[in-house]
C-alpha cells in the first residue's frame, strides 16, 4: 500500500511545495518508508535544473550499505569534471545533504540521453530529475520529514505530484523511491500506486531497445514505458492509453510534464483514486483526506472509473 497525490493550478502559481506536503502527510499511514516530491516550480526557463544523488541515505531503516562521506565528495568531483568536459557550466550549486545535490546548469543540451548516460556512468551517481521546471526530491521518512530536510515548503509553482511509499517490491532506499524521472525526457515524472506483474518481461524488452532502469522497483517501468512511447513519437496521452493494456497488474499512476498533469487507472480499478476538478484547480489523491488538506471546505469529488485516462494542462 502506497499513497499518491497530485495537484495542478490552472492559470496561476501557488505554494505547491507546502500544499503537496500537506497532501502526502495526510496519507502517511499508507507508507512512510520514503516520500518523494516532483515539483514544477516557477523558473526563468533558461537553465536546466539537475537533481542528483551521489549516495544513499543509510539511516532511518535504510537497506543501503554505509559509505564514507569522502566517497560522496569523490563522486561529486567526477560529476563536476564530466560536466566541464561536456561544456556545461554550473550556474548554481546546492548540497542540501552529503549525498543529495542540486545544480543549475547552463548548457545547450542536444541529447539528454547521451548527457545522462555520461553522468550516470559514474558509479553511485543517479540523476533524480533533469528539466527546466521539474525538481524531484525524494528521501527516506514521511512527507514532513523530507519537506523539512529539503526546505520544500517555500517552493512556488504550478503543479506537483508526490508519493508516500510502503516498500514492497524493492528495498527501502532513495533509488526505489518515487517519483521516477521519465528518463531521458526533460521535465517528465511519474508516481504509482499498485503492483505491475509483467515488470521483468517489459524491462527486458525495453532494455533491448536502449532504455535505462536504475532500480528494481516495478513502478519505474511506467516512467520508462511512457518515455519509450514518447521517444517513438506518441503523445503523453497516447502513451498512457497504451499503458492500460501494455502494463499488467493493478495500478493508478500520475504523470506530469512541464505543462500538464495526467492520471491513469487500470481496467480493474483495483487501486483507489479520488479526484477534485474545478476551472482553476485539479487535486487528486489515494484518499479524500489528501484533498481535504488543501480544500477543507465541502467540495464535490469522485472516483475515476476503470481504464480511465485524463490529462490536464496548466
Amino acid at each position: 500500500m502506497c499513497g499518491i497525490a497530485g495537484l495542478i493550478h490552472r492559470g496561476k502559481s501557488s505554494n505547491v511545495g507546502s500544499e503537496l506536503q500537506g497532501m502526502l502527510q495526510a496519507l502517511k499511514h499508507r507508507g512512510e518508508d520514503s516520500t518523494g516530491y516532483a515539483l514544477y516550480g516557477d523558473t526563468d526557463g533558461k537553465n536546466f535544473i539537475m537533481r542528483f544523488k551521489v549516495g544513499e541515505n543509510v539511516g532511518e531503516g535504510s537497506s543501503s550499505v554505509m559509505e564514507d562521506v569522502s566517497v560522496y565528495d569523490e563522486r561529486k568531483k567526477i560529476v563536476d569534471e564530466t560536466l566541464a568536459e561536456m561544456g556545461a557550466k554550473i550556474v548554481k550549486e546546492e548540497r542540501t545533504l552529503p549525498y543529495s545535490l542540486r545544480y543549475e546548469i547552463d548548457y545547450n543540451v542536444k541529447d539528454l540521453l547521451e548527457f545522462s548516460q555520461r553522468i550516470e556512468s559514474i558509479p553511485g551517481v543517479e540523476i533524480l530529475s533533469m528539466g527546466k521546471s521539474l525538481e524531484v526530491i525524494k528521501d527516506l521518512g514521511n512527507a514532513k520529514m523530507v519537506c523539512d530536510r529539503y526546505s520544500l515548503d517555500k517552493v512556488v509553482g504550478t503543479h506537483a505530484i508526490g508519493h508516500a511509499r510502503m516498500a514492497t517490491e524493492s528495498g527501502v532506499d532513495i533509488k526505489s523511491a518515487h517519483p521516477f524521472w521519465g528518463y531521458p525526457f526533460s521535465d517528465v515524472s511519474v508516481v504509482h500506486n499498485g503492483q505491475l506483474t509483467n515488470y521483468w518481461n517489459n524491462r527486458r524488452v525495453l532494455e533491448n531497445k536502449g532504455m535505462r532502469f536504475m532500480s528494481e522497483c516495478d513502478s519505474e517501468l511506467i516512467a520508462v514505458y511512457l518515455a519509450e512511447k514518447m521517444r517513438d513519437g506518441a503523445t503523453l496521452e497516447e502513451g498512457m492509453k497504451a499503458s492500460l493494456t501494455g502494463l499488467d497488474g493493478v495500478f493508478t499512476y500520475f504523470v506530469a510534464t512541464k505543462d500538464s498533469l495526467g492520471m491513469a487507472k487500470d481496467t480493474m480499478a483495483a487501486k483507489p483514486l479520488v479526484l477534485y476538478e474545478s476551472d482553476d484547480l485539479v487535486a487528486m489523491g489515494s484518499e479524500e483526506i489528501a484533498i481535504r488538506s488543501v480544500l477543507p471546505q465541502e467540495i464535490d469529488t469522485y472516483d475515476p472509473f476503470d481504464g480511465e485516462v485524463k490529462v490536464w494542462q496548466i
Binding site: 483507489p272 479524500e288 465541502e298 469529488t301 472516483d303 476503470d306
Partner: protein, 284 residues
Amino acid sequence: MANLKTVSKKSKAQSMGMHTEVLTGRTQQKFFNPDEAENFYYFGTYDVDFNKRTELDVKDMTAPEANKEIDNLMSQGYGTIVIKNPQGKHSLGVGILNKLNLIFEGSLGYFGMGSCDGPIVRINGRVGWSCAENLMAGKVVIEKNAGSCFGAAIRGGDLICKGSVGARTGIDMKGGTIIVGGDAGAFTGFMMQRGRIIILGDVGINLGDSMYDGTIFVGGEIGSYGSDAVDAELTKSDQDWLKRKLKVAEIGENFDVSKMKKIVAGKKLWNYDNLEPTEKKGAI
C-alpha cells in the same frame, strides 16, 4: 448463559451433534429462540428518542473519538445526531447497532458506516471506499458520489447513492438493496450471493462476474457481462417493485423502469439456501 469455561455436561448443541469440541476462552454461542425474542438485544444498544436532537463537530476529533462520542450521545437518549465537519475522515459511524437518525454534513472517507444494524443515515456529501460494508439493516443515503466496493458484503438494509459509484459495487453482497442514481464502475455485483442492485445509469465491464445469486437491474448501457451473469425477463412484479423502491429511495421516481435490463446468475448452486442473519432475525 452457561459459563463456557466450566461446561462439563453436554450442551444442547452437542446433543444435536453440532459441536463436539470443548469450548474455551472468549467463544460465545447464542441461539435464537422465538419464545425469547423479547429478550434478544445487542449489547451496547440504547433506548433513544428520535425527537431528541444534537449536533457533534468532529473537525478536531479522530475517528475513534468521534465514534465513541456518537455512542455516548446515544447512551444519553439522543435519537437524532447531526455530524458536522466529517472532512473525509475514515471509519466514521461504524458499528452502530441502534435505531438512530444520523446525518453527516459533509463527506466521509473509507469504511464509513461499516458493520451497522438499524440506523437511518443521510450523508450530505461523498463517501470513500467500502461504504456501509456489512450493513445488516437500516438505510444509508449518500447525496453525492461513492467510491469503490460500495456496499461490500451487505446483508440487509437499503444503501442509496444519488451520484455515481466506483468499481465492485455490491461485491459479495448477501442481501439488502443497493440503489445508484448515476453510473457504476467495473465488476458491479462481483460474487454477489443474494440481494438486489439497481443502477439507473451505465455500468462498466464484467457486470455480475461470478455471481451466485441475486438480481441486478441496469437502466443504462452495460460495458460487458462477467462470467455467470445472464439476462433475465423483466416481469411485471419486478417493475412494480422497482417503482416502489425508487419512490421510497427518493431517487429516479420518474424513471422508466420498463426499459431496465435484469441480470441474474446463470448457474445453479447446490446447498445454497441457508438463511442469512437478517433472515433469521426476521424469522423470530
